[in-house]
Structures are given as structure tokens and as C-alpha cells.
């Protein structure tokens, strides 16, 4: 038996990992990233002559039922056609048995990198609203993301906001219109973890249950998700993550401002919105993403937010902020009148 050097072992591993795209319309370009459930490559769609991101699951499933379910769920994901959700173009099986899918190749920055370049709190909140829009859309179509965090939000070169990595997504039972959307515990979208932990550059690490299902990222994961209470997860679990995400967008810290510098974009109303969204008890949170988005919009419009009961002083301060121009105009007018009167009485 031929002795394999360490280098040969590594090369074999690399060689075996390269997806065999024979019989597909794609040509491999380069390795992009490794995720929890597979590897992402840049590939060229030779038919449409465009660059796509090709994600390959790293291991074929031993069970055809599981494989079919994963593919079925990938198809559900592909139906989430929304400008804020990265579109899936194609899904299939490679000749080596690995499931793959292709999606839009997004060029841009991750939210955790991008947010540093946005000094204005208003702009940050508008960015957050676009994330809410995409997540709300997914909820309305019965899909729960379960791993919302800055590393999974991309801001494209034209300012478009895309929610990425739906690898932990769960299908929700029921319809969004009437009763609360509950997770189907059996319905995991294209997910099986590679390693017991997958540290991200944002400092979070994905948590894995004993059965091998990745649950989320500490700091952004709801308490019920952290407990592994999969059966009782509903849209409010993502709302918790959105609350942590809002805190991050405003303070660079999902747990809230720790330093004076981090507090500069945070006031009581925003803090109340974050606290309500990320309340430990699901009952204390906003019940839908739209409610959360509405509160943020009201804040942006200078109106009272549902999450915070204002004191008289706060009401006046907000009233001042909202009508500052007119108040200053009237004040200037009155001052002028006073000055004119004083001048005339001399």
C-alpha cells in the first residue's frame, strides 16, 4: 500500500472536496467561504453567463427521505422572492451525490462591517427597517430564519440589504393571517452542522445540540431557542434576534451599550424598543415583525412609540425635536417682535 505523505492526505482531502460540476451548467471559479453546512464557491452559470454563488453540502445524506425533505425545503426557500432575501436560482444533486444550490452572488459588506461606515442613527434605523421588511416577508410565507445576526446581513454595493444564510431556517406551520406561526420541529432547511462550533468574526459561536442541529448564535438567539425548545418557537424568536440586531446596529453590542461611545445613538425610546423586542419572555415581545418595524418608523417620524410610556418632559422634548423648525421659527419671530417693541419704546 502506497504511503501517503501529510501533504498527499491534505491534497486528497482538498481534491475530494472540490465539487464535480460535470453535467451541470456551472463552472467553478473560486472558493468563497465555508459555512455551517457546506462550502460556498463562486461559479459561472455558463448558460446565462453570470456569476453565481454555489453552495455545496459537504456530505451526502445517507437517508433519501431526509435528502428529499431538504430539497423540498430548499424549494420553499426559493419561493421567498423578495428584494431583501438572497434569491436561490437552482438546486440539485451533483454526480458525487452532494446536494448543491446556487444563489445570487452578492458583492458588498456584511452589516457588522458596513455599520461602521454609517454615522447617522437615522440611516442605521432605515437599514434595520429593510431587514425587518425581509424577515416579515419570510414570516408571512411561513419561514423562520433562526440565525439573524449582523454577519448574515449583507449590504450590497448599491445599498441593497439582503438577509443571507437561511441554513437554520425552519418552516412554520399554519398561516400568518390568523394564528401564531409555530415551528415544525421536523422541518429544517438544508442544515446539518459541520463542526461542533463555528466561530464567527462577530464573536458569536453557533450552538449545536446533542443531536447535531445548529440552533443559533449566542447573543442573538432567543432564550427558548437556546433551551432547544424547538416545538414552541414562533415568529417571536426571530423578533428577539431583531431586537439584538437593533441594539447592535445602534451600539455595536447586541447586549446593549456598555460604554459612553456606544450610548450615543441610544435614547430611552430606542432602548425600550430593543428591550421589548428582545424580552426574555416571548409574551413580552412584539408579536409580529410589522409591529416592531412600526415602532421604529414611529420613532423615526418623531412620534410616540408603543414600547415606551413617556414622561411629560420626554413628550415635550420629542415635540420639540419633531417640530423644531417651526418652534424655532416662531421663537425667532417672537424674539423679533419683542426686539422691535423694545426698540420702538426707546
Amino acid at each position: 500500500m502506497k504511503f501517503l505523505s501529510d501533504r498527499a492526505v491534505e491534497r486528497l482531502r482538498e481534491a475530494a472536496e472540490i465539487p464535480d460540476l460535470t453535467g451541470t451548467r456551472y463552472r467553478l471559479l473560486e472558493h468563497v467561504a465555508r459555512g455551517g453546512m457546506g462550502i460556498v464557491y463562486a461559479a459561472e452559470d455558463e448558460k446565462l453567463e453570470r456569476r453565481v454563488a454555489l453552495k455545496v453540502l459537504d456530505v451526502p445524506s445517507a437517508n433519501a427521505d431526509v435528502a428529499n425533505r431538504l430539497i423540498r425545503e430548499a424549494l420553499v426557500l426559493a419561493r421567498l422572492e423578495h428584494p431583501g432575501i438572497v434569491p436561490v436560482h437552482d438546486v440539485g444533486t451533483l454526480s458525487d451525490g452532494r446536494v448543491f444550490y446556487t444563489m445570487k452572488f452578492v458583492q458588498g459588506q456584511r452589516l457588522d462591517q458596513y455599520v461602521d461606515t454609517v454615522p447617522s442613527a437615522t440611516e442605521r434605523l432605515r437599514l434595520f427597517l429593510r431587514v425587518c421588511d425581509a424577515v416579515g416577508f419570510a414570516h408571512a410565507h411561513g419561514v423562520l430564519h433562526r440565525d439573524l445576526k449582523p454577519a448574515n446581513i449583507m449590504v450590497g454595493s448599491f445599498g441593497e440589504v439582503l438577509v443571507m444564510d437561511w441554513g437554520l431556517a425552519k418552516l412554520l406551520r399554519g398561516d400568518a393571517s390568523d394564528k401564531p406561526l409555530m415551528v415544525d420541529p421536523e422541518a429544517t432547511i438544508l442544515e446539518k452542522p459541520k463542526n461542533a462550533s463555528d466561530t464567527t468574526s462577530t464573536g458569536g459561536s453557533r450552538v449545536v445540540t446533542g443531536h447535531g442541529t445548529v440552533m443559533g448564535t449566542p447573543g442573538y438567539m432567543s432564550p427558548e431557542q437556546a433551551r432547544g425548545d424547538v416545538e414552541h418557537l414562533d415568529a417571536r424568536s426571530d423578533i428577539f434576534s431583531l431586537g439584538a440586531l437593533l441594539r447592535f446596529v445602534l451600539t455595536q453590542n447586541p447586549l446593549g451599550p456598555a460604554t459612553a461611545a456606544q450610548k450615543q445613538h441610544m435614547d430611552k425610546a430606542l432602548e425600550a424598543i430593543c428591550s421589548k423586542a428582545a424580552a426574555p419572555d416571548p409574551g413580552g415581545r412584539y408579536s409580529t415583525v410589522s409591529e416592531l418595524a412600526l415602532d421604529v418608523s414611529r420613532y423615526l417620524d418623531g412620534m410616540a412609540v408603543a414600547a415606551h410610556r413617556e414622561s411629560l418632559f420626554e413628550k415635550l422634548a420629542r415635540f420639540y425635536r419633531r417640530y423644531r423648525f417651526f418652534i424655532l421659527l416662531i421663537a425667532a419671530y417672537l424674539l423679533m417682535r419683542v426686539l422691535i417693541l423694545l426698540f420702538m419704546h426707546r
Binding site: 500500500m1 502506497k2 504511503f3 501517503l4 505523505s5 501529510d6 501533504r7 498527499a8 492526505v9 491534497r11 486528497l12 482531502r13 481534491a15 475530494a16 472536496e17 472540490i18 464535480d20 460535470t22 465555508r34 462550502i39 459537504d58 456530505v59 451526502p60 445524506s61 445517507a62 437517508n63 433519501a64 427521505d65 431526509v66 435528502a67 428529499n68 431538504l70 430539497i71 423540498r72 424549494l75 426559493a78 437552482d90 438546486v91 440539485g92 444533486t93 454526480s95 458525487d96 451525490g97 452532494r98 446536494v99 446539518k192 452542522p193 459541520k194 463542526n195 446533542g210 443531536h211 447535531g212
Partner: protein, 252 residues
């Protein structure tokens, strides 16, 4: 697009041979023997090298202990006690090796074993040569973590070597010797990578033929390695974990 367009992933692989962990406990002596052969083929080298380095045993004693260990696996039905939920098979076997060597020491046993525990040829001379080639110094691997890493690395080398051997046999059986030579030149040799163009020139074939041959060889290599891995896993979950660890990133 609908799901009927897709082949279930699992169907791409031939029916799984029974896990050696189950088969070693079989009442059918032939099946038991075959399973032990496969287990032995995959593990004897890592175990031998581990005993040589970790237990610092001379070659002859390590050979004896390696063979003795596989007798122990069979006689004491060690694999019956293996629970894939608690540990990986190779971790379990490594712990069993430690316990076996330690017990042998305590009992002061040094019985010479026949070497016919399995029908796999245990080429200890080659293993010794490999140890020499790798120039591994026991002092250089002092911590339990590095020993575990060493054992895993050797296990992976053993798994890949078996897969390469099977691939060579497959290529021979299908008159694809040239494909294997290409695979060997491009993916196995430790030299700097040569280009597809160079290989095409060396073998007087088109570059596309090189591409297709290498794609086929890699696909088959991967399939064989995964098949072997599946046999050596106690459960589907363990297999999935192992396959990810084997083909997805650094060994750990």
C-alpha cells in the same frame, strides 16, 4: 421546478455494507471475520504507531500488542460496548488500546500472538518505515491532545490509503490505468502541483481528458472513502459527523 426533478441524494450511493460495529458481533462467523478484517485494515497502522510512540514500545512488542488488541476486541466483544452517541469509534478504540496496554503491563503478560487474528496482512515493516519517514519524535508530542491528533491523523492516512488502493483496483478492473496514473501524478505525489496542460502533454491526451479523468477519479475516491467511513461508523449521525470532519476542514 419541482422536487420530482431531483434524485434523492442517498440513492447515489450503493447499498451500505453493514457497519463493522454490528457485524463484529454477528453470530455468523464468516461475517464476523470479514468485519474484523475491515476494522483491522483501517485501524492496525494507527494503533501500531500509537503504541510505538505513546507507549514507547519497541517494534516487536508493539507488533505483538497490536495483534493482541484485535484478539481482545473479538474475545471481549469490545465493540458491543461502543456507544456512538458518547464517542467516536476511533476515540473509543484509542481509549481501549490504552486500557489494553496498561492491563497487559499490570498482568506482566508477554505472550507471543500468532498474528492470524485477521486475514489482513499486517505489514509492520512498512509501518516502521513510515514512522521513520515521518520522523516523529515521542518527545515532540507530549500532550494528550497532540497524541489524539496524531492518532486521528494516522487514522485518516490509513482510511485514504485504503481508498487509494481500492481506487487503483477499480481503475485496473475498468482498464483505466491511465486515469489512476493521472490521479497519482496530480493528487498524490508530494511534489509541486503540475498543470493539467503539462499532464496532457506528458500523456499525449487533450486537456479536457485530463479534467474529466481527474474528476472521475476524485469522485470515485470520495465515494470509496465515504463507503469505508460509513462501514466504520456506529450510526448514521456518526457517519455524517465523521464525513464532515474528514472532508470538511482540518482533522480534529
Amino acid at each position: 421546478m419541482n422536487e420530482e426533478n431531483f434524485q434523492p441524494v442517498g440513492d447515489r450511493f450503493p447499498p451500505t455494507r453493514r457497519s463493522v460495529i454490528e457485524a463484529v458481533g454477528s453470530t455468523d462467523a464468516e461475517e464476523r471475520e470479514r468485519a474484523l478484517d475491515r476494522l483491522c485494515a483501517a485501524y492496525w497502522r494507527p494503533i501500531y504507531k500509537y503504541i510505538r510512540l505513546h507507549w514507547n514500545r519497541p517494534a516487536e512488542e508493539a507488533q505483538d500488542l497490536t495483534q493482541g488488541f484485535f484478539v481482545e476486541v473479538l474475545e471481549r466483544e469490545l465493540l458491543r460496548k461502543f456507544d456512538s452517541k458518547k464517542a467516536r469509534l476511533r476515540t473509543y478504540l484509542r481509549v481501549c488500546v490504552d486500557s489494553f496496554v496498561s492491563n497487559e503491563d499490570k498482568a506482566g503478560r508477554r505472550q507471543k500472538r500468532g498474528g492470524n487474528v485477521a486475514h489482513v496482512a499486517l505489514d509492520f515493516a512498512a509501518a516502521e518505515e513510515e514512522l521513520g519517514r515521518a520522523a516523529m519524535d515521542p518527545a515532540a508530542i507530549p500532550s494528550p491532545e497532540s497524541l489524539e491528533e496524531f492518532f486521528e491523523k494516522e487514522w485518516l492516512r490509513s482510511l485514504f490509503s485504503l481508498a487509494v488502493k481500492e481506487l487503483r483496483e477499480l481503475c485496473n478492473a475498468r482498464q483505466r490505468e491511465k486515469t489512476f496514473r493521472l490521479f497519482e501524478a496530480y493528487d498524490l505525489d508530494g511534489l509541486e502541483k503540475i498543470s493539467y496542460e503539462q499532464l496532457a502533454k506528458d500523456y499525449a491526451i487533450a486537456v479536457t481528458d485530463v479534467t474529466n479523468s481527474l474528476a472521475w477519479a476524485r469522485r470515485e475516491f470520495r465515494r470509496i472513502a465515504l463507503e469505508r467511513l460509513r462501514e466504520l461508523s456506529g450510526s448514521d449521525e456518526e457517519f455524517q459527523r465523521e464525513a464532515r470532519a474528514t472532508f470538511g476542514g482540518k482533522t480534529k
